[in-house]
């Protein structure tokens, strides 16, 4: 089972690397959408510093959302998803491997790119470590919860827009506590409760999301 997990993970990573540009598209969107805010709100540095954490989180959320269709869509179209459903390895394990690969490709890159956006948005220096820590705890949850939406909207009409409607409400808690941690530091409070709640969301999503996503994939391939 661990071998199957590793194979699935390596396969998805290899596919993503061979497609090259596709994987970096979400990060490009993240940076470009983030730079729209200083242009839209105005370049006043204090205002930017106040909204920086929120902007980074919202654009990261949207970037993950845009990358979700890569998770199952290709496998659904070329039929390999049906093979995965039929394989003796529990589908939940394979789904977890695919989610892990998705997080490594988008989540880790987004975390790596967020200091750049933070500079553009004049984020106070003392907030950087907490922002990165919160994103480290939050982005895996985004991949996990997003996988449910991606699996549910397979084969639906207008799948992309539908996925946004399904997934964004479920992302709201991650957004609230992620921004909450950064804002707590900015006003001199402890970010600990927010980080603990982000950890709790991750701890709940880690076993439950692959389970729900696998159930959705089974009914999609029926």
């Amino acid at each position: 089972m661990i071998a199957a997990f590793r194979h699935m993970l390596m396969r998805d990573l290899r596919l993503a690397l061979r497609q090259g540009m596709d994987a970096t598209m979400a990060v490009a969107f993240f940076i470009i959408a983030g730079t729209l805010f200083p242009l839209g709100v105005g370049p006043e540095l204090n205002t930017l510093a106040r909204i920086a954490a929120g902007v980074i989180w919202v654009t990261a959320l949207l970037a993950v959302l845009l990358s979700l269709d890569r998770l199952f869509q290709q496998d659904f179209e070329d039929g390999s998803l049906e093979q995965l459903v039929l394989s003796p390895t529990p589908l939940e394990i394979l789904v977890l491997a695919k989610i892990a690969a998705h997080w490594i490709i988008t989540g880790v890159l987004l975390i790596a790119a967020s200091p750049l956006l933070a500079i553009f948005l004049n984020l106070p220096a003392e907030v950087y470590p907490v922002l990165l820590l919160a994103m480290g705890l939050g982005t895996p949850s985004l991949s996990l919860i997003g996988a449910i939406g991606a699996a549910l909207s397979l084969g639906a009409r207008r799948g992309g827009v539908l996925m946004a409607v399904l997934v964004l409400p479920l992302y709201i808690p991650v957004l609230i506590f992620g921004v909450g941690a950064a804002n707590a530091v900015a006003i001199g409070q402890s970010p600990r409760p927010h980080l603990l709640l982000l950890g709790a969301i991750l701890a709940a999503a880690l076993p439950l999301a692959p389970w729900a996503a696998a159930a959705a994939l089974r009914q999609a391939t029926e």
């Binding site: 549910l152 909207s153 009409r157 409400p169 609230i176 009914q219 999609a220």
Partner: protein, 239 residues
């Protein structure tokens, strides 16, 4: 439960029950509105605006209760492949969304004179808004597939995932210190509001529940009819 899996038997029972629930809804809604609007004391602080509560609170309860009903029906449909549970869940969704919208709108109308603002981003208001989004997502998903059975099943999974929001709504006012007042009716140590206000509120709550049952039966009936029409058209098209 499986007794009701047969649409014909369900329709026979539903048709027998419908006039009673419909009549009781009208009766209790009339009595409840009379008690709430004319025959209950105004609040000593809030004055006459407190009467908004008699619509606001029952619709908030219904928003959550209908979601719970929908989630249970979806679970029954997914586990036992119960054919009417799917239809019941689908039929319940727009009713629940309607109750949630009523709750949010009456809340805004009540908030303006009392809090001085239509909307605040407080935990209970936000989680109720998320509930509305979950309803809309469910309705979008259930109608997104050409094969209605796929829509039922996909939306059923979504309904079950969304259940995590229900305890958050219920306990948000206890967990976070918010502008919205804490629970005053459903508490372990008994309700903290005066019987003169509690009685009309409970009558309205029961009337809302009966209204839900009545509309749910009507909607299930029309869903069954629509499925029949679809099957007939398919068999005609196949020749």
């Amino acid at each position: 439960m499986h007794r009701f899996a047969n649409p014909t038997r369900f329709l026979r029972i539903a048709n027998a029950v419908l006039p009673w629930t419909g009549g009781l809804t009208a009766l209790l809604l009339g009595v409840g509105l009379y008690l709430a609007l004319l025959n209950s004391p105004p609040d000593y602080q809030q004055g006459e605006t407190v009467r908004i509560m008699y619509v606001h609170v029952p619709s908030a309860w219904m928003g959550m209760l209908v979601y719970l009903t929908m989630a249970i029906a979806s679970a029954v449909a997914l586990i036992w492949r119960h054919p009417l549970a799917d239809i019941a869940a689908k039929a319940a969704a727009p009713i629940g969304a309607g109750f949630t919208i009523i709750c949010l709108v009456t809340g805004a109308l009540w908030g303006k004179p009392m809090w001085g603002t239509w909307w605040v981003w407080d935990a209970r208001l936000t989680s109720m808004l998320i509930l509305l989004f979950l309803y809309l997502g469910y309705i979008a998903l259930v109608n997104a597939f050409d094969d209605p059975n796929r829509g039922y099943r996909a939306a059923g999974i979504l309904a079950l995932v969304g259940v995590v929001n229900l305890p958050i709504i219920k306990f948000s006012v206890d967990w976070w210190n918010t502008l919205h007042q804490p629970a005053s009716v459903i508490r372990l140590d008994g309700p903290t509001i005066h019987p003169d206000i509690l009685l009309p509120l409970l009558v309205m709550a029961v009337a809302f529940k009966l209204f839900f049952i009545t509309v749910l039966i009507l909607r299930i009936r029309s869903e069954i009819a629509a499925a029949k029409i679809r099957n007939l058209q398919l068999s005609l098209a196949r020749g």
